[in-house]
Symmetry: C2
Subunit: 324 residues, 2 copies
């Protein structure tokens, strides 16, 4: 049991990372209005959010630039149009997926770019490329983090090898990622313990990226926080793929550092998030996501169920367990 | 940190309590169709649920019987019409509120009644009446439990006195109740520790009744469960007052005892719960409930905000903190 004082104090080293445009972009193909993005930036600055992830640095050879909003690609000039010289404490982040990013050409030297942090996302079997991307970004002058995805389906032995590789790499932050929303808080505690072994040995920070399939994204995030994880991902109203993510409003309400302010967060949601939903953008907890989470499966079948407007939960459950 | 085995095993002493008709009844004035109630009973039996709470034993002198559905009053013959001789492992529960129940006349001797468990709900300042109700119910032959409500606003000293009174009473189960959805898992762990002191000393069981204002109802319920709490309240699709309760489907999916089955739960939701929502019954997490939870306030203002169809979250937040 955590000692009495934990919820009354705060830890200076905690960083809040807004992933709304990136994970949220997965549900609207990154078609956010310029007003939305500009307001989000200003809100994050006022709310004390530490990092704002603008989207992906996706390969323009693999993805049609006309089929997605600009935040799928995060051209430096598009970011610059929002942040200007970014005279604020907020740092700018983008995500680069292993195998879906032409990082050598598309990520420019830091001194030419408004970006501060390159977040590399990888599966366990892609670790060598992830390390190459991290080294490339560090050489160019960026902070770096690495998300190892889908660990709830990974072997602990493989995860240890990956953590050791990252430990020896120049990466700054290693993320615990519950891609399938399959993990319970007590599993997060155990996983944090494992990650912390390597983080302590190699002097790395840890991060947490949760999904809300079992309505545990916030609970798992604060569990990790209480266990010593410093970088906490959240999105406004939990907007993100499938069941979505940890809610920014819950996280900012939870944290005790006086630099965080919930009122601008509430104002932003008031102005923008209901509107998105009314326009037909769909995300968030529903029974089909609980099922794929419980079964530790990729949410793609639940996303298809949602997109098809299906409500026949019992039939869907049978499909999942019969194909399991 | 809990040891490795916790999620692979199960504890025989855990009991799942379905509170859908009772806490859910608060959002539709207890107007459930007979088919809904009959299907819910059959579903609970098939799903392995241990107790089904049918509603309140509300005073017919205080409440107009024509202004509420029958589960506000839970006449024994209405329960009997659903359960017959109740030839199942499911036990029947009702709630009796201190100050809102004519318990001496309305609760009949157990041998004449289909009810197994009388759940007494009380505020801290009403403990002597709660004890009288417990003694009355025990004398009539019932199992009893006691919910001490609104403890997140109570003084620890008063809570200890209440726990000691309950310890010395013949009550079987003492409930931890997060009426305002204000508590975080680490607070639940501390509160469980306090309640467990008295439960161990006096040989009582503990229960958990959570609200979902911060999307922590399920997380808090499994935190309590991991800390040794045996009686776990849940409702289908989390139906309950304001932000609702712990979702039955999440809880049944989490528990490992083979007597619990999620498929009938999914079938019931498929058939009934979306229909309720389509008919305009509103419950569940929304930003206004996060706010009252964060501020540790009764949800009545957030319920009014919801009923008025308001969406001006920022204005509502100002109202809350200005009146705070």
């Amino acid at each position: 049991m955590k000692e009495l004082s934990k919820l009354m104090e705060y830890r200076e080293s905690i960083k809040v990372v807004d992933a709304t445009l990136r994970d949220g972009g997965l549900v609207n193909n990154f078609y956010f209005t310029d007003e939305f993005v500009s307001d989000l930036y200003k809100t994050n600055v006022r709310a004390g959010v530490d990092y704002m992830e603008f989207g992906y640095k996706a390969s323009k050879e693999m993805f049609d630039v006309d089929a997605f909003g600009k935040w799928k690609f995060c051209n430096d000039e598009d970011i610059r149009a929002v942040v200007g010289e970014n005279n604020s404490d907020l740092k700018v982040a983008v995500m680069a997926d292993v195998g879906r990013c032409d990082y050598k050409q598309d990520i420019l030297p830091k001194e030419e770019s408004p970006i501060d942090l390159i977040r590399v996302a990888t599966y366990l079997n892609q670790m060598p490329t992830a390390i190459d991307m991290i080294e490339d970004a560090v050489k160019k002058g960026y902070e770096t983090s690495c998300n190892i995805m889908a660990i709830s389906n990974g072997q602990e032995g493989d995860i240890k090898v990956a953590l050791d590789m990252l430990g020896k790499s120049p990466v700054d932050v290693i993320y615990i990622v519950d891609s399938y929303g399959a993990l319970y808080p007590e599993q997060i505690a155990r996983i944090t313990d494992l990650y912390m072994e390597f983080a302590s040995k190699y002097g790395k920070k840890l991060g947490m990226h949760a999904h809300n399939n079992q309505q545990l994204a916030f609970a798992n995030t604060i569990e990790a926080c209480g266990d010593g994880v410093d970088y906490l991902d959240a999105t406004y109203s939990g907007m993100g793929r499938g069941a979505g993510n940890c809610y920014m409003e819950s996280l900012i309400g939870f944290l005790r550092n006086p630099k965080y302010n919930i009122y601008p967060v509430v104002q932003f949601i008031d102005k923008h998030m209901n509107k998105l939903r009314e326009e037909g953008v769909v995300w968030g907890y529903d029974l089909q996501y609980l099922m794929t989470g419980l079964l530790n499966q990729h949410p793609r079948s639940a996303i298809a169920f949602t997109q098809d407007g299906r409500k026949d939960y019992a039939e869907f459950y049978k499909e999942l367990v019969i194909l399991d």
